[in-house]
């Protein structure tokens, strides 16, 4: 079993074409390009679930559709050769940001608020804005010839090392052909800035979400709800997501008295 699924992208085309010569060439599936099939699958899922997010009324279902849409986007990243980015999308975006979002949805999904229907004038406005924006974007996309050529290039053995090195300021990849940038810069400064940014956000979110001591009861306590607000849980969740991306900045257990 030498490489159970040794399916790097170039070998697909190198295998399919010779195989056709010796076997059934007349089948309509004979020339199938699995990469394109998978691309269509993931693209269909991503677009379909994105439209589902817009169309759904129930906010919990919207969150679920968003999870599936972003998961399919991660699949698209893998198909384009950006493996590290795909794993990053799964871990940080889907496994962190969306978990946070789903937490928020759960905490606020009381019965009267689960389906808030927009007015019809809002719907018309959204439809017009969406349609015109889509037309504009597609026109811009189709206006460049170079983007419409089918891709047959190689994915240079996807490795996370050049990306990691770039993040500490050392560029080990070759500049792409015709790159206008003479200087091949590293990304050390943005990396550090983002790290500090995440730390600041961590502290800020933990502060915002802390359990506050109140003299007068909150409006939410007056609403007959089936579930008390678990401020400790949300504080922990709000604290943890930036914490994961900031590489484990320490955080105190925020006011969790229950």
């Amino acid at each position: 079993m030498t490489g159970l699924l040794d399916m790097d992208i170039s070998s697909v085309t190198h295998v399919i074409v010779p195989a056709l010569a010796t076997s059934l060439p007349t089948l309509p599936m004979a020339g199938i390009n699995w990469h394109s099939v998978l691309f269509l699958l993931f693209a269909g899922l991503a677009c379909g679930f994105a439209v589902g997010v817009v169309a759904a009324d129930n906010v919990v279902r919207m969150a679920l559709y968003l999870v599936f849409s972003l998961g399919s986007t991660a699949g698209l990243f893998f198909l384009a050769g950006a493996e590290f980015l795909g794993a990053m999308q799964l871990m940080i975006y889907v496994g962190g940001t969306l978990v946070l979002l789903v937490f928020g949805v759960m905490l606020t999904a009381q019965a009267p608020f689960v389906s808030i229907k927009p007015s019809s004038s809002d719907r018309t406005l959204a439809a017009v804005a969406g349609a015109s924006l889509l037309a504009l974007l597609l026109t811009a996309a189709f206006s460049v010839d170079a983007w419409m050529v089918p891709g047959v290039g190689e994915v240079p053995a996807p490795s996370a090392t050049p990306l990691g090195m770039a993040l500490i300021g050392v560029r080990v990849d070759t500049p792409p052909n015709g790159s206008p940038n003479g200087g091949h810069v590293g990304y050390m400064l943005p990396f550090e800035i983002v790290s500090v940014h995440l730390l600041v956000v961590l502290v800020g979110a933990a502060y915002l979400a802390r359990a506050k001591r109140r003299r007068t009861p909150r409006a939410i306590d007056a609403v007959a709800s089936a579930m008390p607000v678990e401020s400790a849980v949300v504080a922990t969740a709000a604290v943890t997501v930036p914490g994961r991306t900031a590489g484990g900045a320490k955080s105190a257990l925020v006011g969790g008295g229950r």
């Binding site: 079993m1 030498t2 490489g3 159970l4 699924l5 040794d6 399916m7 790097d8 070998s11 697909v12 190198h14 295998v15 399919i16 074409v17 010779p18 195989a19 056709l20 010796t22 076997s23 059934l24 004979a30 020339g31 199938i32 699995w34 129930n58 919990v60 279902r61 679920l64 998961g71 493996e83 590290f84 794993a87 990053m88 799964l90 871990m91 496994g95 962190g96 978990v99 789903v102 937490f103 759960m106 190689e154 053995a157 996807p158 490795s159 996370a160 090392t161 089936a226 849980v233 922990t236 969740a237 943890t240 914490g243 994961r244 590489g247 484990g248 320490k250 955080s251 105190a252 257990l253």
Partner: protein, 414 residues
């Protein structure tokens, strides 16, 4: 395998899809068969620890067929759904959980080159997908329209998400020692005797391993971190309202995840498929001495890894039935006040150890982790980070030469 099928004359598209299907079915069997064995083992171990016997009737003296009987019972159960439950979400939740658990097996290597898909970012991918299991739990808790389910689900989600931080840090240490996130390469670099294992590489890694065990147990919601399923407190937590086949999917997801984190620990710290004793090398077999020898070596490696992972799962069961359950605030305290700082300090220690003592304490005692072993890995830098170039790969029918695929012939016995 696809090349083998193409060599038989099948068209390319069919060969690739069959190869993919076979790989998927094999991985599925690992989870399903594993769950079957582990359920029985859990009941027996729990029984013995509690000074009783466990299943002794079905299938003879040791109750071998108890798992099968349980499975048949679960299949035959009535399919219930609570009245206020969201139908779509209720039905979807077990499958989301199971899919997350299953997808992580794609990148897990069972022996050299016996891997679903060899990803350069294997470690990252496995840890990322493990974190997606929480969605199934949250969905189940919400869709059950029951207080206890929701509480259990929120607690479990908070716990899993919190423990991913120290888990990530623990996982980064072997990655740092190996210089790559490729799981196959990480295990390859621990080939040889037991002293090559990263567990014994330096004291910091040793401590990190135990922190990893703690975080892994918390991550799969096993006792003492099983607040979400605490029978004595929340009825059954997020799967209170689930019965029959749906519940068994959650169960399979849990045992699958347990096997996965144990196998991951084995690959990262315990040498993967390389045993305590390099049997294949001693006997004289190696990857390069012909096709059947290569298969036998890999089979040995496969058995080795499964054995180590099973030992990890049994260890988790042992811990479960020995230690009392932690409260949710104790769980969070353990994560944020103990695991994370200790993991961070140990990570810094391992980094400095690697910097100042790359050859280990005693010269010749253990190979430095990043060293290339001549003749074993091809080319400078070996297998680190790059899969074999396309030219080496078999190009379909024209080069149907199994013994030469993946450059096997370039390896010589050590």
């Amino acid at each position: 395998m696809a090349e083998f099928l193409i060599g038989l004359g099948l068209p390319g598209w069919l060969a690739w899809s069959i190869a993919a299907l076979v790989a998927a079915v094999l991985l599925l069997n690992v989870i399903a068969g594993g769950a079957l064995v582990f359920i029985w083992a859990e009941r027996k171990i729990a029984a013995r620890i509690q000074d009783r016997l466990g299943p002794t009737r079905t299938g003879g003296r040791f109750g071998w067929l108890q798992s099968l009987a349980d499975g048949i019972k679960l299949l035959a159960k009535e399919d219930l759904m609570p009245e206020g439950a969201d139908g779509l979400l209720f039905r979807l939740a077990p499958y989301v959980s199971f899919c997350a658990s299953f997808c992580a097996f794609i990148a897990l290597p069972f022996a050299f080159d016996v891997v679903g898909q060899r990803l350069n970012v294997g470690v990252f991918f496995v840890v990322a997908v493990l974190g997606l299991e929480v969605f199934g739990v949250i969905l189940a808790g919400y869709a059950s329209a029951s207080k206890w389910s929701l509480f259990g689900a929120m607690r479990e989600a908070a716990q899993v998400v919190s423990y991913e931080v120290p888990l990530g840090m623990c996982v980064v240490v072997p990655v740092m020692l190996a210089g790559t996130m490729d799981l196959v390469t990480i295990a390859e670099k621990q080939a040889g005797w037991m002293s090559n294992w990263y567990l014994f590489h330096d004291p910091f890694t040793f401590v990190i391993f135990w922190i990893y065990v703690t975080c892994a147990v918390a991550s799969v919601n096993r006792a003492p971190f099983d607040l979400a399923e605490a029978e004595s407190e929340l009825v059954a937590g997020f799967h209170t309202e689930y019965s029959g086949l749906r519940w068994s999917f959650f169960f399979m997801a849990e045992y699958g995840s347990m096997f996965l984190v144990s196998a991951l620990a084995a690959v990262l710290f315990l040498g993967g498929w390389n045993g305590p004793v390099p049997i294949a090398q001693l006997v004289g077999l190696s990857e390069g001495t012909g096709d059947s020898a290569a298969y036998f070596v890999r089979l040995l490696g496969l058995a080795n890894l499964i054995g180590k992972a099973t030992f990890g799962v049994l260890l988790m069961m042992w811990i479960r039935w020995t230690l009392p359950r932690l409260r949710i605030d104790q769980v969070m305290t353990t994560c944020l006040k103990y695991c994370t700082p200790i993991a961070a300090v140990m990570f810094a220690g391992a980094m400095f150890w690697q910097l100042f003592l790359p050859g280990g304490l005693l010269p010749g005692w253990s190979r430095p982790a990043g060293e290339i072993r001549e003749g074993w890995l091809e080319g400078p830098g070996g297998l680190s980070a790059t899969p074999p170039p396309a030219a080496v790969r078999p190009a379909g029918v024209a080069a149907a030469d199994p013994s030469d695929s993946s450059g096997l012939a370039t390896r010589s016995p050590r």
